[in-house]
Amino acid sequence: MFTFIIRRLLFLPVVFVGVTLGIVLLMQLLSPTQRAASYVTSPQQLANVEAIIKRYHLADPWYVQYWTWLREAAKGNFGYSKVAKMPVLKAIGERFPSTVELALAALLPIVGVGIWFGTAAALNRDKLIDQVTRVMSIVGWSLPTFVLGIWLLVIFYGALNWFTPGQITGKHAIELANEIANGTFHRYTHFLTIDSLLNGRFDIFLDDLKHLVLPVITLAAVSSAQIMRVMRSSLLDALGQDYVRTARSKGLAEVVVNNKHARKNALIPVLTLSGFTIIGLLGGVVITETIFNYPGMGSFIANAATQLDYSSVLAGAVFIAIIVVLANLVVDVLYGLVDPRIRYN
C-alpha cells in the first residue's frame, strides 16, 4: 500500500511535466509579444515588450522557454490576467475556493443519490423503484450541462424567481465587500460557506447555500446518473455471487448480507468511476459556472478564453491538472482501503 502511494506520487511529476510542457509547446504557436503576458505582473510592464521578450528568453528555443517558464511558475509568477485585471495567481487564488466549494457540494448528492438509488434498484429488481431509477439514470445521463442549466434557470429564476444566478445576492455582496474592506469580516479560509459561519453571519451562509442549489443540480445530474447505473449493475452482480449465497445459508440477516457482503464489494467499480467523475466535474464547472455566473475557476477560464487572455487560460489549465491528479490519488488510496485484494505490486 505504501509503495503504491509512492508510485502514484511519482506519477504526479509525469502529469505535471506533460501538461506544462504541452502548454509551453502550444504557446510556441503564439508570437513572442503574445507570450509576454504570461510573464509580467502588471500591464505597465508590457509597455516595453522588447525588454520582457529579452528578459524571459521568449524568442529563444522552446526548451529555454520551458525552463524560464518553470522557474517563473515556481516563484508563483503566472503572468498578468487581462480579464481579472490582476496577477493570474491572485485571480486564481480568489476563485479557486469557490470552485472547490461547488465541486464538493456537488459530490455529496452525486455519491449519495447515485449509491442510494442504485442500491434500492438492485435490491428491488424490476419493482417500481427499479423502473424509476432506470428512467432517471437514462434521462439524467442524456442531459448536457448547458441544456439543463439553461432550463433550470428559465424555470426557477425566470418564472418562479426562487433562485438567482451568482454566488450571493447583490445586497449581501455590497455589505460583504464593505465589511471585508473594514476588516469586520475575516477571510479565514476564503471558502465563503466556512468564513460566513466563522464570522457568525448565518444570513450570508444561507444565501450562499441557496445560490449553490441550481449549479449543484446541474453538475450532479449526469454524474449521479452514471453512478446509479454502475451501482445497480455491480450490486446485482455481487448479489449473484457464491459468497453472498454462503452468507445467506449461514443464516445471516438479509440486511447484513446486503450491506456487509454484497454492497461493500459492489462499491469497488463505483470508486473506479469516481475518479472519472472528478475529472468530469472539473470540466463541467466551466459550463455550469458560466451559465450561473458563479465566480469560480471555470467561469474564469471560459471568460479568459473568449477574450483571448492567454496567460489566464494556460495557468487555469495547470491548476486544474494539479487538482485532478491529487483527487485521483485520493481515489486510488480509498480503492486500496476498500478492496483488500489489491496489493499494488
Binding site: F11, V14, V15, G18, V19, G22, I23, L26, M27, L29, L30, I138, V139, W141, S142, L143, P144, T145, F146, V147, I150, W151, L153, V154, Y157, G158, A159, L160, F276, I279, G280, L282, G283, G284, V286, I287, T290, I291, I301, A302, A304, A305, T306, L308, Y310, V313, L314, G316, A317, I320, A321, V324, V325, N328
Partner: protein
C-alpha cells in the same frame, strides 16, 4: 466525456476469430440487439437524425423560399424555382443534398430585432434574438453536427491508429512514452484541453474540430495497442515475418485488418459525445461564428432570454426549449444505442 470501453477486443463477437458463421443479420449478436427495446429506440433516434442531416435542404424548402438567403442564389435558383430542391428529378435536389454551398449553413434572419419572435406559420419554431430562424438553424445544425462528428472521428481514428500501432508493435521505450502521453490526456478534463487549444489556435469551427480530435485519439490508441499486443503473438504474424514481411507491412496487412473492426464500432458510437463537446465549446462562444447553423450556438442565444417580460415568465420559452430538446434527444439516442452495442459486444456481461 470519453470513458474507457470496458471490453477486451479479442473476446467479443465482432472479432473475426469469434464471428458467427451465418452472417451478421442472423448472428447471435444481432438477435440480442434486436430483442432490446431500448437499443431499437436508440437506433431509430439516431437514424432519424441522420435522415434530417441528409435531407436538410428538402426539409427547409419553405424557409429557403420565404427568406431567399444567399444559399438560394448560390444554388443557382431564382424566385420561382426554389421548390426544385424538393424534386428528385431536378439536378439541384442532388446538388443541395450532396454538396450544398457553404452559405446554406448561415441561418436566415427574419428580422434584425434583438427580441425573440414567437412561433408563427412563417417561423415554425420561432426566431431567437437577432431574428435567426430556429427551425432552419436546428435542421442545418444537425448536418453540421454530423459533419463535425464524422471528421473528428475520422481524424482521431487515423491518429489513434498510428500511435496505437507504433506503441503496440514496437513496445519498449516508444510504447512507454506514448502511453504516458495518453495517461496525461486521460488525466485532464477534455473540455479544458480543448479550450486551451482553441484559445491558442483562434476561435473557429475548424479549430474546435482540431481541439477535440487532439483529445479524442487517445482512447483509440490505447485500445488498438492492446489489440496489437495480443495479435502480434499469434502464429499467422510469425508466419508473415518468416516470409520476410517487415514492420509496417506486418502491421498494415496482417495485424490491423484483424483488429480494426471493433475499434470502428467503438469510435462511431463516440459521435454523440464529440458533437456534445463541440456544442459545449460553441455554447461558450469559442466555436462557429454568429449565425452559423450550430446547436451549441442556438442554445447560447437563450442565455439572454431567461426572463420574460413582467407578467409573462415563459414568453420566450421556445428559444431555450427547441434547441435544448433537439440536443437532449440526440444524446439520448446515442447513449441508448451505444449502451446496447457495448453490452452485446461484451460477452462477459
Amino acid at each position: 466525456m470519453t470513458t474507457e470501453p470496458l471490453l477486451d477486443p479479442s473476446e467479443h463477437d465482432l472479432h473475426p476469430a469469434n464471428a458467427q458463421p451465418s452472417g451478421f443479420w442472423r448472428s447471435k449478436t444481432f438477435k440480442r440487439f434486436r430483442r432490446n427495446p431500448l437499443a431499437i429506440t436508440g437506433a431509430l433516434i439516431v437514424l432519424f437524425y441522420i435522415l434530417v442531416a441528409v435531407f436538410a435542404p428538402q426539409l427547409t424548402v419553405t424557409q429557403l423560399s420565404t427568406f431567399r438567403n444567399t444559399c438560394v442564389r448560390d444554388l443557382g435558383l431564382g424566385f420561382d424555382n426554389v421548390h426544385n430542391i424538393a424534386n428528385p428529378l431536378k439536378g439541384v435536389f442532388w446538388h443541395a443534398m450532396v454538396a450544398p454551398p457553404a452559405s446554406c449553413f448561415d441561418i436566415p434572419r427574419a428580422s434584425y430585432s434583438s427580441v425573440p419572435a414567437p412561433m408563427s406559420s412563417k417561423l415554425w419554431l420561432g426566431a431567437s434574438s437577432g431574428g435567426y430562424d430556429i427551425y432552419y438553424g436546428l435542421v442545418w445544425g444537425t448536418r453540421s453536427a454530423f459533419y463535425v462528428g464524422l471528421l473528428v472521428i475520422g481524424f482521431a481514428l487515423v491518429a489513434g491508429g498510428i500511435v496505437g500501432s507504433i506503441a503496440g508493435y514496437l513496445g519498449g521505450i516508444a510504447d512507454n512514452i506514448l502511453m504516458r502521453l495518453v495517461d496525461v490526456i486521460f488525466s485532464m478534463p477534455s473540455l479544458i484541453i480543448a479550450i486551451v487549444i482553441v484559445t491558442i489556435l483562434g476561435q473557429s469551427l475548424t479549430n474546435v474540430m482540431i481541439a477535440i480530435a487532439a483529445v479524442a485519439w487517445a482512447p483509440y490508441s490505447r485500445i488498438l495497442r492492446g489489440d496489437i499486443q495480443a495479435i502480434k503473438e499469434r502464429d499467422f504474424v510469425d508466419g508473415a515475418r518468416a516470409l520476410g514481411a517487415r514492420g509496417p507491412r506486418v502491421v498494415l496487412r496482417h495485424i490491423l485488418p484483424n483488429s480494426i473492426g471493433p475499434l470502428l464500432v467503438i469510435a462511431s458510437l463516440d459521435i454523440g459525445s464529440i458533437v456534445l463537446t463541440a456544442a459545449a465549446l460553441s455554447f461558450l462562444g469559442l466555436g462557429a461564428p454568429v449565425g452559423y447553423a450550430d446547436w451549441g450556438q442556438m442554445i447560447s442565444f437563450a442565455r439572454d432570454w431567461i426572463q420574460g417580460p413582467p407578467g409573462q415568465p415563459f414568453a420566450y420559452w421556445f428559444v431555450s426549449f427547441w434547441p435544448g430538446i433537439v440536443i437532449v434527444i440526440f444524446v439520448l439516442g446515442w447513449n441508448l444505442l451505444g449502451d446496447a452495442v457495448r453490452d452485446v459486444l461484451d460477452v462477459r456481461s
